[in-house]
């Protein structure tokens, strides 16, 4: 394992990488340029995940070629010197004389099932997935193309999924403005103030020890003592479980039996038609109770 993770090293960052320019924090992007040597490397688990991703990526290319798809310009580098943007694209596919840039991403089963269109990438709750459209947009702009394709691989099942994405001019404009801003700070050797605080983003940020963001949270609420109610809830909980199990068994025993006399009980049954309806989208409050004493 040590051998696998040893190859991760810090390299000087002299440009805005297309793969990270979609990061929501300007301070992070400037630190990436000015304090690259102080960024923490990914932990051992993350290093292994990245290694696995690389292996899968190579396999996807191999599979595509074996399937007869024409894959060209593998790992071609790009540079847009005016904005100090660089990147390298996984490859391009040629379909009916048209060429499309491709970007291969590997993901978990959970993420794979959630991503079915470019819109899902923009709206993902994971910031690193929201960065994918920015990466593709920059490749399309630098390669003067209108459309590109993401190929997602489910690491658990090996399934592949294509997500086409058209050039988003608004996003492109925002990214170029962002790159200009970063370059100005780099030129002045200045680090901007922290503009955003995102609990998930900041707590795992590789520059947290440099940025030192103020972690501001609302304190836990101390509620008046309702122990009696909660104690009773935990007393009844196993009984409720047992009740449900027995009910299920009884219903299964007497299924499709219209009238049965059983000891002290008369059991009747009939078919009930279910009406179809759609559950409207919404939200609900999930309460979790942990017994501490």
């Amino acid at each position: 394992m040590e051998n696998k993770t040893r190859q991760f090293k810090q390299y000087p960052v002299r440009s805005n990488r297309a793969s990270v320019l979609g990061h929501p924090c300007l301070k992070y992007l400037v630190l990436k340029r000015l304090k690259w040597e102080e960024e923490t490397l990914p932990n051992e688990t993350m290093k292994l995940i990245f290694n696995e991703g690389k292996l899968h990526e190579n396999q996807v290319i191999k599979d595509m070629i074996e399937a007869g798809i024409e894959v060209i310009e593998l790992q071609r580098s790009f540079e847009w010197s005016e904005y100090q943007i660089t990147g390298h694209i996984d490859g391009k596919v040629k379909v009916n004389s048209k060429v499309y840039p491709i970007e291969i991403k590997t993901c978990s089963d959970f993420v794979f099932s959630k991503i079915n269109s470019a819109k899902d990438l923009y709206e993902s709750d994971k910031h690193y997935i929201r960065m994918y459209p920015a990466q593709m947009t920059l490749y399309l702009l630098m390669d003067n193309k209108e459309e590109g394709v993401f190929i997602f691989k489910n690491k658990q099942t090996g399934q592949l999924k294509e997500i086409p994405m058209r050039l988003d001019y608004d996003l492109g404009e925002n990214l170029l403005q962002k790159a200009e801003k970063i370059n100005e700070y780099v030129e002045k050797d200045e680090i901007p103030e922290q503009e955003i605080f995102d609990e998930n983003l900041c707590s795992t940020c590789s520059f947290r020890h440099i940025c030192l963001p103020e972690i501001a949270r609302e304190s836990i609420e101390i509620a008046p003592d309702t122990n009696e109610l909660l104690d009773r809830y935990f007393e009844l909980k196993p009984l409720a479980k047992e009740y449900k199990e027995i009910e299920k068994k009884i219903k299964s025993m007497f299924k499709e039996k219209e009238k049965v006399l059983c000891g002290n009980y008369l059991i009747t049954g009939k078919w009930i038609k279910k009406k179809a309806y759609q559950v409207p989208e919404g939200q609900y409050w999930q309460t979790k109770i942990i017994k501490i004493k």
Binding site: E37, T40, H209, L212, I215, A216, R217, I292
Partner: protein, 277 residues
């Protein structure tokens, strides 16, 4: 001796409202609050035991130590906020260096009116085995341990660890999770796991002698600066958070003036918040 009989008219009854209180603050209220705090502290501890598991705890020199990941997990649930200052970089004559972080921690936002605000420090030194120890393959095929010189140790790693150390200590101080023992944890279903950290640099006896010597120097210097015995005791408890070792005492000794100033500020803040309650 002249005997005097008091008549009813001689007795002046002062209405309760006009009675002069012996102190400007209400003792009963403070005692009640202290009891409530103690009960709350007990509840917090129980909650921490309920939401952490064996993986979150590590055995450090025979004592349970809640790891940084576990600390941050519980900090989210309890709504603990913090703000760290830029760290101090202490350099030693042998080239080794140490990052010392100081931060404010509280339940809820860090404001002047929040009575739960506390200060904690945390540090890591490049001399720690974790940073300087490496392994290389020897001719016989076995791996040999060697030490990196200070200039080859990544300051970013040391800084990051010092930051985590400060956050962990702050959270634990706030939640009253210092000085726990395995018996207490085992009573709540958390057993001592296989994760273990041992200090091998010096024997416990050597370490204890060294830390005692530095501690004595600190006490002497504090006395010279006019602190009385109780104040010195409080200052040491504030700066060490109950952890006594050579590293902590060396850091305090190297930054004594600054730490005394911080401790005094903290004292003033605490007094202020007590009166504000």
């Amino acid at each position: 001796m002249e005997e005097k009989t008091l008549k009813e008219k001689d007795i002046v009854v002062t209405p309760i409202e006009e009675k002069v209180k012996p102190y400007s603050y209400d003792i009963e209220k403070i005692v009640k609050k202290a009891r409530e705090h103690a009960e709350l502290a007990k509840q917090i501890k129980l909650a921490v035991f309920a939401i952490t598991n064996q993986e979150d705890w590590v055995d450090m020199g025979g004592k349970p130590y809640l790891q940084a990941s576990g600390c941050e997990k519980i900090a989210r649930i309890f709504g603990i906020s913090w703000k760290l200052e830029q760290p101090e970089l202490v350099t030693y004559p042998d080239g080794h260096f140490e990052f010392v972080f100081t931060g404010k921690f509280a339940f809820g936002p860090i404001t002047e009116n929040n009575p739960t605000v506390i200060t904690a420090t945390g540090s890591r030194c490049s001399r720690d085995g974790f940073f300087k120890t490496r392994y290389k393959k020897a001719k016989n095929g076995k791996y040999e341990q060697y030490e990196l010189p200070p200039e080859e140790i990544d300051p970013g790693d040391v800084r990051k660890s010092a930051e985590s150390n400060c956050i962990g200590r702050g959270i634990k101080k706030l939640l009253g999770l210092e000085n726990l023992d395995w018996t207490e944890l085992e009573q709540h279903g958390i057993k001592k796991g296989s994760k273990k950290v041992e200090y091998k640099a010096n024997s416990p006896k050597e370490n204890s002698d060294k830390s005692d010597a530095i501690k004595e120097k600190i006490i002497q210097k504090c006395k010279e600066k006019g602190l009385n015995d109780n104040e010195i005791k409080d200052f040491l408890s504030y700066t060490t958070s109950g952890q006594e070792n050579v590293k902590i005492y060396s850091t305090i000794w190297n930054n004594l003036d600054k730490y005394i100033e911080k401790w005094k500020n903290q004292q003033n803040q605490q007094e202020q918040s007590l009166f504000n309650q």
